[in-house]
Assembly symmetry: C4
Homo-oligomer: 476 residues x 4
């Protein structure tokens, strides 16, 4: 087929695109696209390879587009389409400071901001509404003070911790974050390598831009350690989760981390604005349907909006005894109680990095809420946290209050974007340094020695909710 | 009459103006003008059409100026007077960002600020004294945090609410705000159209710059829904309120919203400064009389300064069974008690958008005060709030604490100023999106499910008054 | 004597100066000068008229310098000495905005800052150390919120208040502040005129740059009202206070306001720096003696550093029944108790406008402290406050908490510096407007109706001292 | 030996340097250097005199480098090596404001910042991680308010205090701070002179860049007063502390101040970054080993990381009855209890100027913690504080809460860097002025009159830890 033929199908009624030299008819798929129709329409009748590649793992087209919509090769490839050869880093050396001079987690963000495309920066950094949740996540860590003990032999320290079914060298993990190939051609492979080399878990996103099979192979090839766990967004068609779970079991993922805070996608304004400005420039105007009628599409509904407590039993059944089942996105003591009563193994306190609901509690304040109203839960389940973690001291604050480990998401995206696998490893090393230095200054040599006596949380406790709905338990 | 004749009457002792080609003698009216004499004196002996038009609805001159002061047509119309033809938008396209790229309520303010005349901007945006009330209104919303519940089926949500005697599609309404024609030639008509098309109430101001009759006709013509309610400022001559009420009944207004926070007009410094600078430039110097003698004019007294609880009975009588009577501007639990004992149907907590008294409580903190000291009142009357609402989450916070609906004023003025009716509709749609998205993330599908368990109000509760005067009830 | 002769006496060992054409030998006086020796030494052997005049009232030289040090007229007066003729305003029109456009108290400060000499600005505006007291004074007013009551007949309001033995038209007074002739040639006369024309008290400073006799005559000449009260700094030689008191009685001052917070002068760094830079430029270097030996001069000791409770009896005796005796500068409930037990009539809570001790309590927080620990005192004595008052609402907050009246100091200096008597009057009018407008919006028509129910002071109450030394009473 | 020979040994495998005309083989010493190997490697094969001199006291090479590594004189001294003659000030006159115009402690920091080398500035000013401890130190002082008493005879005041076994003229001392010769050629001699001339203690650092013997001689030579106390970092080889202690006894040091907060050196990012950038420029890349294996070097472990409570007995034994033993770096009530039970004489509350652990409690908040949970300890031991002290009022706040004296560290480094001995004296005089002025304004004439009634600490008390581990005592 000639490219001129493709160019004629440039509208909503007939929309073709070229990807890697092949033409596809995506007209019927427009409304099913999780990113919305306009991100495809902007490329209607054009070569979309450059936009498509960094977001979608291999095999995506085969999995989602019926065979008859694969229209075959385009005869004369367009000038300017993606050339063959090894992928080039997106961030050029010289655009960022030398890696050896970086001193803390935040400097990776600054480096990435200099080098990333606007599209990737906006996707990685954006958060919901007025950014109140994003900022509170950071702020709340700073409002906890430490209580160092002196004159203890701290010559040798151990930072080992067992969590998510893995013996980890360090008490943190790589939190799920999607579309890493927007930042670096190796994408999530950098994360797998870092996790392997430093023996920490990496919780892959459902929306990894590198196929899970490749990540699994990459981790194994390193022969050093690490573990993969599987973050699951249940799809709009809930039963389709089964396929994803079976695949994760087959690939040896050690834990199932079920995201429960995303019945819809948060209103991330920078991201929405970026797309609205592109659409405006392209003359595309598809207003978001706001209907709440029974058959209307659900606003911002990329995954299942109907996932509920009763679904946990069949999900558990699919996963079997493969490893622990963890709920990610719990934000109240009430839901922690519900999870305990549902027999869940672990709770991952998170407000999704401030990307879902604004004015959500920070994960550390939720942990304090649980300590206040139902401290017994901390003995029944493992607790994880993420959101705004930027220091080894943050990790230790969480552990002193009962968490088993802490996740970091965006910092790893920034590290790989600016420096690839080396950046990921450096980030882990910086945290290692901060954690062991802070442990020694706290007077502890093993994480098990930490307790709430090592933290002063009064400032946060003064703002905990004065009432919670513990009646709820009886409703189960 | 020749224009030269008009020009001679350019002083306080004889003051004529031309409006739409007709001359008027306003000498005796100078001291009665609610905006003060200097705003007329600045135009003495001149064509005042351009200044007069955007503020006064049709029929104002007939209603307020005795027939003998209508001096008839001016022979040679002045160059530069308002030309015939359809009115032009005051804000030009290109001065503001494309409407489709706006992401939140505040961006309408930024857009309007770019495009509005200084006079209109100052009138719309100004607030009292040091802006403490204005800023606290915004701040207090941000100090309430949300408590999201997970794993609930939120596929379908309903945002319907019945309030002010109307079945509304959304739990908010257009709050009263005056002089919309300063921002857009269609003025308040834009608001009526928006209310109709999205089926929400619009509470018209006594000082609408479009006549109430036209608004009523406009809403009906849309044939879509919506409702008008009537905000009443009781005039200096209290009995004149009867005429206004009867007119509202005749036009089918569904509720009477009686403003009780304005015995005088707040000291809005930006507005006062703007006028003082004009006066200084024009050489006019009429210092505000500060006397408190019995026969002196009341400082800043544009409406009745003597309206009191005893007046409610005859106002109710005038209004009859037309619909609920609501008091707008209640700011203490004490006055909420008084209102309940007076048999009022609804309480509209408001500090007038920070335009009346500085250091007033925000409406949401007053609601918390009522919950603390007299929670029973929430079951006896409907509660409304306004002031600083800029997010769907603000609306839900108010509802979780017992409000029936929330009003927005300035944002609608900004939306219509920058984009006309389309702006009004877009603003409603943005809030619709935010409300339904936040509801789903909170785990509620119907507004009736909201309760105080969904909010953490500890930060605000820590600053509520430690004593209130509940003895007052017995004084009634 | 020739001026050349004067010029030879330009050192610490022999120091002459010319003032208004007369030569004086001030060698022995250098160490007695309340402003320290270097401010004279900088002018040794020179014509000092321009520096001397705006600070010292007529008669100062006669009162303080022995007759034999008056060396007689200087033959050839220097060019550039102060010329005859009416004094010129120091701030020129055009340097400040038109008075009619000023909207609030703070704008007088901005205007004065533009027009004043650096010396005067530094003297008026400086405060102690890190400015913490200065800033807290302003901040604490803003942390009190008001609780407005609605639907009350507020057509007529009265702002009359009786205090300091005077029936005042308004509940505030002009607080003592010195050296007004540095800002305007008429100096304190502007204050006397303003107090007379608006019938409020003016509390003159011991260090008025216009003689008290002139102020008294000026007030009487206005024939409008007002009152003078007398602020007393007890001199280093305590008994000399008697002369000052007798003079005040003779001139008809209505109250004695004894400053008790100034055993030494606070470390006002801007002021000290200004002088140190002048000294450095002039090559003068007289380090402050820091000795605490028995016969060493007291560091920063301009007035009596030994004034104590026992002195009150003879001071009272001197003053007789002339009017109330008020202690200015009380800052703790403990000292309020002491004052009550000493039979004092009134307490003037003040931290001296933040000019004395840093981290002092604001006067309004001291009032709350007294309300918390010894509310009975409010019925036994009159209470006054000053410090950071910039709004009519501040005045009403103080009155609602039990104060009888409120003083403003710096704002009046700024007003007279920028606009003379007109500025003083305008400032009073602005406050009048703010007070009556806020009263109406609060729903009160007479100051006696105010009570603590009209204010929410929780934010300040949360930071009151948790313990006070009420045992102290028994020590008297 | 010729310099060309030295130049060949410029690598990790063979590393020679020239210091003051002598060559040294430091290859084997590289890994033992407390500052890490890279700071030597940067100078491998070069003349290192200029870098070496300001950091190391005389005799350092003899003490630490085996005789056989002293390679003898270098024949042709390099141009640019340090010339003979009297040392020149590092900060030039004119780079800083005239000393007589400085008004407060902070202005010395500003002056030093202008004049210091980047290396010295970074070393002096840097603090750990996010600077939270550094900033909290400053902030917490400002959150304590004072409660001044009036009408007391404060003509004469005494600021004398006996502490650390010395009768001091003032209630503060020079806190240990190292490497003063980076700021001024006379280095710590300036501190000894200041301490002598104003009769206050100077607590010398283990790492003084002037030998302790010289400091002792200098103090004696002044013949004015003062005292030296000895701050001890226990070396990695703990028993080596004995030599240091014996030396201090011999030199007449009056107290032993044992630092207990430094099992490792804090992560001071500005310092680390400065070195990383130098290394990057020099092509040196020695990543910090992060291993926690048994035989790995301890990360950031410059001193003993195994010092523990049990070591106190032999340290005491070494010190004998020479004077009090004080623990520096206690930060919890729990460790204060431990110290009391161990029979320690004094406790020096400190977070090491914010240089060790981030989010550490400020020393004043630890003092409040002790007052809350174990006030009896204040009677059993002497308490000292440092950290963020910048005002005489800070000193008095600490004393009112039970401290015996307060230390200042960085301010003295800044003062000597910018102005040498004169700066040190001026700094002491400024504090003298502030302390006596504030005492008079507080109404106290002797430090023993101070009590907690003179301070309002409610703001800090509201954030103290709600639980402490007082069970710990029984573990001893």
């Amino acid at each position: 087929m000639k490219f001129e033929e493709v160019q004629k199908h440039n509208s909503r009624s007939s929309c073709w695109v070229v990807i890697a030299g092949q033409a596809y008819d995506v007209t019927d798929f427009l409304n099913e696209h999780p990113g919305g129709p306009s991100s495809i329409l902007r490329l209607a009748g054009q070569d979309a390879t450059e936009e498509y590649e960094p977001i979608h793992p291999a095999g995506t087209l085969d999995a989602h587009l019926p065979k008859e919509k694969h229209l075959g090769p385009v005869e004369s490839p367009v000038a300017g389409s993606v050339a063959a050869g090894p992928p080039m880093p997106l961030v050029k050396e010289g655009e960022v400071p030398p890696l050896s001079t970086l001193q803390n987690v935040d400097e990776f963000e600054a480096a990435a901001r200099q080098g990333l495309s606007k599209k990737a920066w906006v996707f990685y950094s954006s958060a919901t509404d007025s950014l109140a949740s994003l900022q509170q996540n950071r702020l709340d860590w700073t409002r906890i003070r430490l209580r160092p003990r002196v004159l203890r032999n701290v010559g040798r320290v151990s930072m080992r911790s067992t969590f998510m079914g893995h013996d980890s060298d360090l008490p943190f993990f790589i939190a799920p974050a999607a579309q890493a190939r927007q930042g670096h051609p190796d994408g999530e492979l950098c994360l797998a390598r870092g996790a392997a080399r430093h023996n920490i878990p990496y919780c892959t996103s459902t929306y990894s831009s590198v196929a899970h099979k490749e990540l699994s192979a990459c981790l194994a090839a390193e022969k050093k350690g690490g573990a993969l766990t599987f973050q699951l967004y249940v799809p709009v068609a809930k039963p389709n989760a089964s396929f994803l779970i079976r695949d994760a079991i087959k690939l040896g993922f050690k834990a199932l981390v079920l995201t429960v805070d995303s019945p819809v996608i948060g209103k991330r304004e920078e991201d929405d604005r970026y797309k609205a400005e592109l659409d405006h420039a392209a003359g595309i105007n598809i207003p978001r349907s706001l209907s709440t009628e029974d058959n209307a599409p659900i606003v911002r509904g990329a995954h299942s909006s109907t996932l509920e407590w009763d679904d946990l039993s069949w999900i558990r059944e699919q996963w079997g005894n493969t490893g622990p089942v963890i709920l990610k996105g719990i934000q109240t003591v009430e839901d922690a109680v519900m999870a305990a009563e549902a027999g869940i193994d672990g709770i991952y306190l998170s407000n999704h990095g401030g990307r879902q609901m604004d004015y959500a509690p920070s994960s550390i304040s939720t942990l304090l809420e649980i300590r206040k109203y139902r401290p017994d839960l901390l003995k029944k389940m493992e607790f994880y946290l993420d959101g705004g973690v930027s220091r080894g001291s943050d990790v230790l604050k969480a552990l002193a209050l009962g968490a088993r480990a802490v996740g970091l998401g965006r910092p790893f995206l920034y590290a790989l974007s600016a420096y690839g696998t080396d950046g990921v490893c450096k980030l882990i090393e910086l945290l290692n340094d901060e954690i062991q230095t802070t442990m020694r200054l706290l007077g502890v040599t093993d994480l098990s020695q930490l307790s709430d006596y090592y933290v002063n949380t009064t400032a946060l406790e003064n703002e905990l909710p004065s009432r919670v709905d513990l009646r709820e338990r009886s409703k189960l």
